[in-house]
């Protein structure tokens, strides 16, 4: 039991920084760029991904001993698609505005590489507990980066965060930040910054 605690914190922090899905593994780029026009859609997307990741990791981890190798991927896809459909229905029912903003990017969680990658790399090899921790860590890592990106873009594009004006008077909004170009360049610079920080540390 003693050596369990470090493993858990290890697994948890892996998703946050060392193996952060966006910053380090460059997975799940498509929603990262598409939905980060503002913080709110970014947060909604992040939470949906956490939900799907958690459910799929639990299911995969529970049936990992029964899985046949060649039907494995099919099984993962089926489970993920099911939970994405549920998440989509939930958003449509209780967050109709966000559902309209996110549009087809909610179903696109199905092909978000993070989820299938975690199912394959972690959940199909580890027990329930580790898989859950892993899903939460990875999910939070994903969500935080999404929110940072969304925050920067919303701030520069409109001068507001969560629709509350925060910038000084006379601030000129940079509409370009809300266009695709803003997404690509902001993420590129963030990745560059992360690379620089890591290089300094080591």
């Amino acid at each position: 039991m003693e050596n369990k605690a470090p493993t858990v914190s290890n697994v948890f922090t892996a998703g946050l920084w060392r193996e952060n899905p966006i910053l380090r593994l460059l997975l799940g780029m498509c929603p990262t760029l598409a939905v980060t026009t503002a913080v709110k859609p970014a947060l909604t997307m992040g939470l949906s991904v956490i939900f799907v990741l958690l459910c799929s990791n639990i299911v995969v981890s529970l049936m990992r001993k029964l899985l046949k190798p060649h039907l494995r991927i099919l099984m993962f896809t089926l489970a993920i698609a099911t939970f994405v459909t549920i998440a989509d229905l939930f958003l449509k029912a209780f967050q109709p505005e966000m559902s309209a903003v996110l549009g087809p990017y909610v179903p696109l969680i199905i092909v978000n590489c993070i989820i299938i990658c975690r199912a394959e790399a972690c959940a199909s090899k580890n027990g329930l507990f580790v898989s859950v921790i892993d899903a939460i860590g990875m999910g939070i890592g994903f969500t935080v980066v999404l929110c940072i990106l969304g925050g920067i873009r919303e701030l520069l594009a409109t001068g507001m965060i969560f629709d509350i004006p925060v910038m000084w008077k006379g601030f000129m909004p940079l509409s370009a930040m809300r266009m695709p170009v803003g997404a690509f360049i902001t993420l590129g610079l963030i990745l560059g910054l992360v690379n620089m920080l890591t290089a300094k540390k080591s």
Binding site: L26, L27, M29, C30, P31, L33, A34, I73, L74, T77, L78, A81, T82, V84, T85, D88, L89, G103, P104, P107, L108, I110, V111, N112, C113, I116, M179, P180, V181, G182, A183, F184, I185, L187, G188, L189, L191, G192, L193, N195, M196, A199
Partner: protein, 196 residues
Amino acid sequence: MDKIYVLLMAFISIVIVNNLVFTKFLGICPYLGVSGRIDMAFGMGMAVTFVVTLAGTLTWLIDHFVLMPYGLEVTRYICYILVIAGAVQLVEMYLRKFFPPLYESFGIFLPLITTNCAILGLCLFINLWGIDNFIETVVLSFGAGIGFTLAICIMAGIRENLKTADVPDSLKGAPITLITAGLLTLAFMGFAGMIK
């Protein structure tokens, strides 16, 4: 005549104006990962074109002849992803059996394609745009593949030249690719408004 015009416009719009990579952010993963060499990028693009045409058409057929008449729209996403996975599997088997040389060149990319967002994304967008014309669906699906190939080949060409460029250390690799892609989207924005 009008029909041909509509189809032509649909094709140009999906290849250039509404390019999936530059305006909808679909298929970014292979776009960043594979596009290091032009010949590889072209092979990947062709494989995607092949699968996306098949998948777009099949999902449209299933949507209109199975899901909608029986009110099963809620299972749409599951059906789509299964169709795509199945199509990829079939294409792989077919190529291996009948066109070994083609399989050699496509083969490595095929398993990757199932999780390529461009494919599922296109199927979803066809549904979202409410396309109810079969031929238009085929043209759009094919055009999406061509658009993807175009984007990935342009990027590969730029990256081949970037190798010799003096890029700051921390920006090497993915960051500079993303920034380049950002500038490319600006260039492609110039085409918007072309289609009426």
